[in-house]
């Protein structure tokens, strides 16, 4: 039998996006919760995994498990080849210029920390500034705060309007001679806002300031082209794009990666080691210390292949229709207010009910089999900006249906009924 960590489960693309067929690829969806069919609307937290991913990981451990980049034996060769194939798949997925610009990390959070600790510590000094936006996830705030705290630098925050849109003029005004890097989310996990990355990059590059993009929420929802965006770094998480947890990708432009010191030391990231001096490995291995998460990297490869076969254009269209439908239905429920009404928006429907706390909404919806996230969504400054403690958030994935939106709407009515 073939042993090269192939995808055992084949997806046969239909001419049009068929959500019922797609749902059959996800075993976890077919269960009842509290006696009701599961309605999984927490995709911004993590997505479910198609059989293609589950079986690929299973296959790897059954047939190919070995360490990579060392050993001349057959299993090591197979594992190495499968692992490196994913690098090329990720390069194509993001349209990076070269596969050495693809660094495997644990997820978006680690990708951002890598840039903050490596690029940031080298290039940000006392009195310098790092510019982020008011809609960032904690993972795109705290790594910069740590850096700024260590270096005596200042974290600047570009404001947003009441719709949850970045104020581009304010952003541009905050780009100053002291700004050393810009870090901005592509798609807000709390509000659904899609940021105008090309404009942000153009403004920053006009002042020779590099831009990191947190792409965790965008990668599963729209075609990302890092060369077209012209961003300098782009970080994504496997588990938010139907792949495994514990694996993600940091894209970086070669020119910048070459100048950056290693993030962590260990095996695989070296060319030679003596007690006097270590010569670091070339890109991308300089940033991949230690035995990596091989199985989940290969699982991520299966997720990328799955998304490619369905087509991100089709997925984007499907989710846009769902979001429009959900918005039109939820906004007409008395006492419900949608938080985050950007004109460019995807995937996320955050809402509050006038006198009912989101936590109570979450419990009652769960009792109806509906999984939503409630809380601050790791974006406390966003909650402060809208002067609310928390929201309930429905976030959509490629397998969600209009019937599930109807279930959500019925669930919200149930919340009102229970809470009086």
């Amino acid at each position: 039998m073939s042993t090269l960590a192939k995808t055992p489960h084949q997806v046969h693309p239909a001419r049009t996006f068929d959500v019922e067929r797609v749902r059959r690829d996800f075993p976890v969806l077919h269960q009842k919760v509290h006696g009701k069919p599961l309605v999984y609307l927490d995709n911004a937290a993590t997505t479910q995994k198609p059989l293609a991913v589950i079986e690929t990981i299973d296959h790897y451990y059954r047939h190919d498990n070995s360490n990579i980049h060392r050993g001349v034996h057959t299993l090591s060769e197979r594992a190495t080849e499968a692992y490196e194939k994913v690098r090329v798949a990720a390069q194509k997925f993001l349209n990076a210029a070269d596969s050495k610009e693809i660094i495997f990390v644990r997820g978006t959070t680690e990708g951002i920390n890598l840039v903050a600790q490596s690029y940031g510590r080298k290039n940000v000094g006392s009195g310098d500034e790092v510019l982020i936006t008011a809609m960032e996830h904690h993972s795109n705030i705290v790594p910069w705060q740590l850096l700024c705290g260590e270096k005596g630098a200042k974290l600047r925050v570009a404001p947003i309007n009441d719709r949850g849109e970045l104020l581009l003029e304010e952003f541009e005004r905050l780009l100053g001679p002291k700004t050393r890097i810009v870090a901005v989310g592509h798609l807000s996990n709390a509000l659904g806002t899609i940021n105008p990355i090309r404009e942000v990059v153009r403004m920053a590059h006009a002042r020779n300031i590099p831009v990191l993009v947190d792409g965790a929420q965008a990668a599963p929802r729209m075609k990302v082209d890092v060369q077209e965006l012209d961003c300098d770094f782009y970080a994504i998480s496997g588990h938010k794009m139907y792949g495994p947890t514990g694996i993600g990708v940091l894209y970086g432009k070669t020119r910048l990666l070459e100048t950056m010191p290693p993030y962590q030391g260990g095996g695989d990231m070296i060319a030679s080691v003596t007690f006097e001096k270590t010569v670091y490995n070339r890109l991308p291995y300089k940033f991949e210390a230690g035995t990596p998460n091989i199985a989940d990297t290969i699982g991520l490869g299966a997720a990328i292949e799955y998304l490619n076969e369905l087509g991100l254009d089709e997925i984007e269209k499907h989710e846009a229709e769902l979001l429009a439908y959900a918005t039109s239905r939820v906004e007409t429920i008395p006492g419900v207010r949608i938080v985050g009404t950007a004109r460019e928006k995807a995937g996320v429907l955050s809402f509050v009910m006038d006198d009912i706390h989101p936590h109570d909404i979450g419990t009652i919806l769960d009792n109806e089999g509906i999984a939503v996230r409630t809380g601050h969504h790791c974006a406390q400054p966003v909650m402060q900006r809208f002067n609310i403690p928390a929201t309930a958030r429905a976030s959509f994935g490629l397998y969600n249906t209009r019937a599930e939106v109807d279930a959500l709407v019925a669930g919200i009515h149930k919340v009102r009924e229970v809470m009086g």
């Binding site: 936590h359 109570d360 601050h376 909650m383 928390a390 809470m419």
Partner: protein, 148 residues
């Protein structure tokens, strides 16, 4: 649905909408802040302790129906109690909401209405937030308590 009704009993809903002793005590000589970073619930508990007893008690803050009702009913049940009695009541309350009670619920009085929480493990933190905060206030701890 019956489990939900057990959780959101009329008395709980009523207290969540009209919390009692929902005020900052000017006479407070002990106070503490508690928050649940997971859901953003945040309360301050104020105590006026005299000769080891709770002469007056109040709270302020925001949270879900369970946490707010729990705080409200806690303040009602503790007026006049000694610190030791308050600690004892918390232990009993904790046993009930976590489903570990082995009888003795009658001593809780109206607080027994929270027994439905035991079917919702994720909501135990909501029901006990005010109590943890109370304990910190009684013990004079300066740090804000967190349920995480």
């Amino acid at each position: 649905m019956s489990e939900l009704r057990e959780l959101y009993q009329e008395l709980i809903l009523e207290h969540s909408k009209k919390p009692r002793n929902f005020r900052a005590l000017e006479s407070a000589n002990h106070k503490a802040e508690g928050y649940n970073p997971l859901c953003g619930d945040h309360f301050t508990v104020y105590l006026e302790l005299q000769d080891g007893a709770i002469k007056d008690i109040g709270f302020q803050g925001s949270g879900c129906a369970i946490s707010k009702a729990s705080a409200s009913m806690m303040t009602q049940s503790l007026k006049g109690k000694t610190a030791a009695e308050a600690e004892e009541l918390f232990t009993k309350f904790h046993d009930v909401v976590t489903g570990h009670a082995v009888g003795g619920e009658e001593k809780l009085g109206k607080l027994a209405v929270f027994s439905g929480v035991s079917e919702f493990p994720l909501r135990v933190k909501c029901a006990t937030l005010a109590w943890h905060t109370l304990r910190a206030a009684l013990r004079g701890e300066q740090e804000a308590v967190s349920t995480e």
